[in-house]
């Protein structure tokens, strides 16, 4: 059976998360088609065609698809689904919004945030914020699945030249109007795909003090993350939040500063390759999973670390 991957993109290129979803599709096995739906997104369709392992790109273009409104995208995916054994997407806010709507329209269960493919119908997914792993088996004719991207290494752009097929974009459901977006301009790499992430927690103490975190991140070419406590306290905006209810990431190096290590936060970063914790409380739970722990006052240790690394 073949697999349809619903792509996330910015109109010009696929998101790295989608490349991980394609990697997951390859581990299931079968021909892989990618749906690029959007408005003026021909460049993204071309990007998808270059990704390793893709057989065909389905390109649907229309103004009503521009914002990935679930009410408009779900019928499109539904109309394509009968030709596939699996419909996959990266478990990002975009697909988490759209795919359950597709599954319900198809009358099938969705399997959320899988981290392992056991066989084409059996998958492993975390439950209870990652405190348990469930192995589930689906008997649905079409398996609708979201993929936890940190569990699958993104496929490369290998100069593949998959065919691009223009398909009918459907119509506007007309019940939902996009009013606007307030996208936070971020300097430096994107949190979800950064190689190094420096995160601050409640211990950082204020929005102004977060400059200490930003300085270290700048020196390392890292993205800035935060615990839920820091976001709730208003130190940084919610798009920086790492954790079960924020972003789940797995960078090469994760530096947790002034973060105690609540279960909710650990769920979002414990798959990182190397974890560093800097906290003045030597009993903080974060030290139980950190590869390198430094019990120190962050206000002296972090600037010192920044200085040592910028030399």
């Amino acid at each position: 059976m073949s697999i349809l991957v619903y792509a996330e993109h910015d109109g010009r290129a696929l998101s790295p998360a989608t490349l991980s979803a394609i990697a997951c599709a390859r581990s299931i096995g079968g021909e892989i088609d990618v749906l690029v739906a959007g408005h003026d997104c021909a460049a993204a369709a071309q990007g998808a065609a270059a990704a390793a392992g893709v057989r065909k790109v389905l390109h649907a273009d229309g103004a009503h698809l521009g914002q990935q409104i679930a009410e408009n995208v779900a019928p499109l995916i539904e109309s394509l689904a009968s030709g596939y054994g699996h419909v996959l997407a990266a478990a990002t806010p975009c697909a988490k919004n759209v795919l359950p709507r597709v599954a319900a329209r198809l009358g099938v269960q969705q399997i959320s945030e899988i981290v392992e493919v056991v066989s084409p119908d059996t998958f492993v997914r975390p439950i209870y914020a990652g405190n348990a792993l469930a192995t589930v088996q689906s008997s649905d004719p079409v398996k609708v699945i979201t993929v936890r991207t940190t569990a699958f290494a993104a496929v490369a752009d290998n100069g593949n030249q998959a065919a691009i097929e223009r398909i009918d974009a459907g119509t506007d459901a007309g019940k939902t109007e996009f009013l606007g977006a307030d996208l936070h301009a971020t300097s430096g790499p994107e949190l979800a795909s950064a190689r190094v992430v420096v995160s601050g927690g409640r211990g950082v103490g204020s929005a102004e003090n977060f400059d200490i975190i930003r300085a270290l991140a700048g020196t390392l070419g890292a993205a800035v993350g935060a615990s839920r406590a820091a976001v709730d306290a208003g130190y940084v905006t919610n798009d920086h939040q790492v954790g079960q209810t924020g972003k789940v990431i797995a960078p090469e190096l994760y530096i947790a500063v002034g973060i105690s290590g609540a279960v909710q936060h650990l769920a979002g970063m414990k798959e990182s390759r190397v974890i560093v914790a800097i906290n003045k409380d030597g009993d903080a739970p974060i030290f139980e999973i950190a590869d390198y722990g430094l019990v120190a006052d962050l206000f002296s240790a972090v600037p010192e670390l920044t200085g040592a690394l910028s030399g």
Binding site: P93, A104, L179
Partner: protein, 250 residues
Amino acid sequence: MKIVVPVKRVVDAYVKVRVKSDGSGVDTDNTKMSMNPFDEIAIEEAVRLKEAGTATEIIAVSVGPQKAQEQLRTALAMGADRAILVESDLTDLQPLVIARLLAAVCEREQPDLVLMGKQAIDDDSNQVGQMLAALRDLPQGTFISRLEPGAGHVVVTREVDAGLERLRLSLPAVVTVDLRLNEPRYPKLPNIMKAKKVPIETATPAELGVDTASTLKTLKVEEPPVRKGGVKVASVAELVDKLKNEAKVI
């Protein structure tokens, strides 16, 4: 505006869950159970809409065992007007089944708005709201941090990867709430006492005409591999040395 708020009985957010030794699931015997925290936020928002004169009636609905009455009583104490329990002792009710049961309740009640948590903290599926919207062919606003009611519509602010986006949804609609929407109140004692006297309406899946069979089977539940802690370093200099020469990550 008539509002339906689905609420789920889950293991309390502060309990450390234990996987059963036979791998059949998570141990919930003698465990503190609570209302799913996201659902509390949904109830709170509905009550605020009622206090502002926008909402006329709030109906809390739960699907689960008889003991889920406790969570419905909490919803009543917070300010819901009525409560409906769709009784089922099945522990593996899947999101699509729950969405079908809620769709059947909505068919009876005809709410203008369904306000619900974006996900339950036990199975973390994050599906039911979107599925309910699909089954009822309604617009959906998911993961919202702000809700502004209007005439025949609501404007929602959604939390997406890169920031926030705003949508206008024509009513009726389904809205799922994220953490930052509000801070739920603690019910006051007189309200808790009053809530105990409210009769809870009941229904069964059979009465609602919904088949509870599942096409998704849980084969086993395991503890995740434990990540071992490493070493404590004594100084920034030692940390830099380890990162450069041992972990080779910078």
